[in-house]
Symmetry: C2
Subunit: 243 residues, 2 copies
DNA sequence: GTAGATTAGTGAAGACCATTAACCATGCAA
DNA sequence: TTGCATGGTTAATGGTCTTCACTAATCTAC
C-alpha cells in the first residue's frame, strides 16, 4: 500500500492525519460546548472547512464520530486520574485515594457533557449502537484504583468480607469484575472497590444530572463526607489539609 | 369562556381533552420505546393521526411535549413508590423502607428511558431549557421517604450526626433539602436521608447507564447488599424473606 | 515521466425532523 | 344566524444524516 518508506509519510497520509486530528478536536469542542446532542456531522464539517459527506471518509457516520470522541475521552480521562494518583506521596495511600477520586469528581464537574458520553447516558446509547466497548475504561480506571487496593490488602489492614459472606450471584459478578480489571486480590477486596465506586459514581451522576440541584449546587462537601466514610471503611484517613 | 355549564363539556372541550390524552400516551409510548431522543413531534402526530403543526395547539413544541411526559412520569412514579410503601405492614419500618426503595429500583430497571427523563440526563437537558421544575418530584419522593425517617427518628433509635459534626456548607445544603421536602426533623436526619439516597441513586444510574455492564447484568444482588448496609445504619433490619 | 488505479473531496438528492405562516372549516355564543 | 375563537390543514424554511455519482488530485508501477 504505502510502501516501505521508513516512517516518512506521503503527502496524502499527512493531510489525512491532519484533518482527522482537526475533526476529532472540533468534535471534542462541540461535545463540550453543546453536549453529545450538539455533536453533529455538519457542525464538525463546517468547523474544519469541508462538506459533511467528506467526513464519511474518516468516520463511520455520526456514530463513528461519537465513537472517536469516546475513545479520545477515555485516553484523556484515564491519564488524568492516573496522574493525580501519581502526584501524591507514594506512601500515603489515603492521600493517594483521595486525590485520584477527587480528580474524578473535578473532571466530571468541569466536563459534564464528556462525562455523559464516557459513563453516563451517552455511553448507554453508544454501547447500544456499537458492540462492546466497556473494557478499556473499566480496565484502566479499575486498574489504577485496583493497585491502591492491592497495596492496602498487602498491608493486611483491610477488613473485607469473606467469600461465604457474599451472596453467590453477587460473588460471581464481583469475580468477573476483578478479572476484567486484571487483579488477583480476593473477591471481598473487589467488592470493597465496587462498594466505593458505586457511591462515587452516584455523586458524579447527581452532579452531572443536576439531581437535587435545588439543594446541592456544589457537591464537594457531600463528596468529602462520603470520602471520610469510605476511607474510614478502608482503614485509612484522609489528610486533614484537603478539601 | 366556557360558560358555567356545571361540569358538562362542550364538544370542542371533549375532543381537545381526548386528543391531548392520546398525544401524551403516544409520547409516553415513544419515550419508552426509543428514549427521549425518539420522542418526536412528527411521530406523535403520526400516532394520533394528525399533522405535526397541529400539536402546537396542545404543546409548546417538542420542548413542551417532553415537559408533558415529564409531568406524567412524575405523577406515575410518585404514586408507585407511595403505593409500594403503603402495601407493607405499617409497623415494620425496615420492610417498608426496603419495599419502597425496591420499587424505585424495579421501576427504574423496567423503564430506563423514563428514568432518564425523570432523574437522569434527560432531566438535566429539560431543566436547562425550561426553568425550575425540580420541586415536585423531590418534594413528593422525599416526603414519602421522609415520613418513614420521621417515624424512625420519633422512635429514638436513630443514630444521626449532630449539627456541629457536619461541615457548615453541607449543613446549609441539607437544611435547604429538608425544607424542600417539608419535614421538621433535625438536619442530621436529613443528612442520613441524603446518604441513603445518593447510594440508591448511584445504583439506579449504574443500571440505566449500563455502567460496568460487562460485570453486572443484574443489580439486585448489589442493591440488596447496599440495603443491608443502609438499613443497618438506620438501626432496622431487612425482613429475611425478601430479595 | 507517464498511465492507470486509488483516494479524498465535491454537489445533488432523499428522507427525516422542527417550526412558522397563511389559510380554512367548524363549533360555539350572542 | 352571524361572527369569532378554535383547531385543524398545507406550504415553506431550514436543519439534520446519509447515499450516490462524479471529479480532481495523488500515488504507484512501469
Amino acid at each position: 500500500m504505502t510502501g516501505a518508506r521508513g516512517g516518512a509519510q506521503t503527502r496524502r497520509e499527512r493531510l489525512r492525519a491532519e484533518l482527522e486530528r482537526e475533526a476529532r478536536a472540533e468534535a471534542r469542542r462541540l461535545t463540550a460546548a453543546h453536549g453529545v446532542e450538539g455533536l453533529t456531522l455538519s457542525a464538525v464539517a463546517r468547523g474544519v472547512g469541508v462538506s459533511p459527506p467528506a467526513l464519511y471518509r474518516y468516520f463511520d457516520g455520526r456514530q463513528g464520530l461519537i465513537l472517536a470522541v469516546y475513545e479520545d475521552l477515555t485516553r484523556e480521562f484515564v491519564s488524568i486520574v492516573a496522574e493525580a494518583a501519581r502526584r501524591e506521596a507514594s506512601g500515603d495511600l489515603g492521600a493517594q485515594l483521595y486525590a485520584a477520586t477527587r480528580a474524578v469528581l473535578d473532571w466530571t464537574v468541569a466536563h459534564p457533557a464528556e462525562f455523559d458520553l464516557l459513563m453516563g447516558a451517552g455511553y448507554a446509547r453508544l454501547a447500544a449502537s456499537c458492540g462492546a466497548l466497556d473494557r478499556v475504561l473499566v480496565r484502566e480506571l479499575g486498574g489504577a484504583f485496583g493497585l491502591m487496593f492491592t497495596e492496602l490488602w498487602r498491608q493486611g489492614r483491610l477488613n473485607f468480607p469473606a467469600e461465604d459472606e457474599i451472596d453467590p450471584v453477587l460473588l460471581k459478578q464481583v469475580i468477573v469484575y476483578r478479572d476484567v480489571i486484571g487483579l488477583d486480590h480476593p473477591p471481598g477486596v473487589a467488592l470493597l472497590m465496587i462498594t466505593c465506586w458505586r457511591q462515587i459514581y452516584g455523586i458524579l451522576c447527581m452532579a452531572v444530572n443536576r439531581h437535587l440541584a435545588a439543594s446541592f449546587d456544589d457537591f464537594v462537601p457531600l463528596f468529602n463526607r462520603m470520602m471520610d466514610d469510605l476511607l474510614g471503611m478502608l482503614g485509612v484517613a484522609r489528610a486533614s489539609g484537603q478539601g
